[in-house]
């Protein structure tokens, strides 16, 4: 079974600035962080269709610390899509919409999420450990 994560966020900024924040490697490094340690993730992202990139953080016992991806869609300044792979292969789609009054809506869709990561062998985060967990939760 595959799930889609869908979220919306509003920003008081211009669509150009938001596009830049989503596509410029230096800017991405300022906001994409390892949420458990808070440390910024290094990246070599480029908004070029076909470009393969990585986001990296310190590896742990349970995760290589690497998210890989390939840029799929670049439609400046409204649509950006790439694969997002760390064990499981997901697709991330960002849609930017100018709401007027200096507000921009950012819509995120992440598709291909397994509802049972442990069973599917995904490695992101704690899934190795989740294999044991699965048994527990079934009790």
């Amino acid at each position: 079974m595959s799930l889609t994560l869908s979220m919306d966020f509003q920003f008081k900024t211009s669509i150009e600035k938001l596009w830049s924040a989503l596509t410029d490697s230096d800017k991405l490094a300022k906001w994409v962080a390892n949420i458990h340690t808070g440390e910024p993730m290094e990246n070599n992202f480029k908004p070029v269709v076909g470009h393969r990139f990585q986001f990296r953080t310190t590896p742990t016992e349970y995760w290589s610390g690497i998210i890989e991806g390939e840029v799929l869609i670049v439609e400046e300044p409204t649509r950006l899509s790439y694969t997002w792979e760390s064990g499981e292969k997901h697709t991330v789609i960002w849609t930017l919409e100018d709401l007027g009054n200096g507000m921009v809506n950012l819509h995120l869709e992440q598709t291909g999420l397994s509802s049972e990561p442990a069973l599917n062998g995904a490695r992101f985060g704690w899934s190795k450990w989740c294999g044991e967990l699965q048994k527990l939760l079934e009790q």
């Binding site: 906001w31 997901h90 509802s115």
Partner: protein, 109 residues
Amino acid sequence: MSEKGERRDVFDAIADPTRRRLIQLLAEAGELPLHELTPHFPMGRTAVSKHLAILKEAGLVTDRKVGRETRFRLNAAPLREVQDWAAFYGKFWSTNISHLDKMLREEEE
């Protein structure tokens, strides 16, 4: 990170290998007192006790007094959140989007 009185995030609680091991030990044994848990770790009972307190804050462990000792038991229910990728990525992006918002605000200044 956790405010006093606020429930601790289950993802934070299991980010530490000692706490994951504690969860496994409790899962296998059912219920254990501190002195039976401590020998499994290269640290003292005070340190293990602190880890148990964090698990308790996340709702992953409950305890009860039996005579003079306190026994710890696993409550696996909050781990369902960890199992759910959508919840994990939702948290990943919402946390990072708050960084993005901050960055954009700073650019405006």
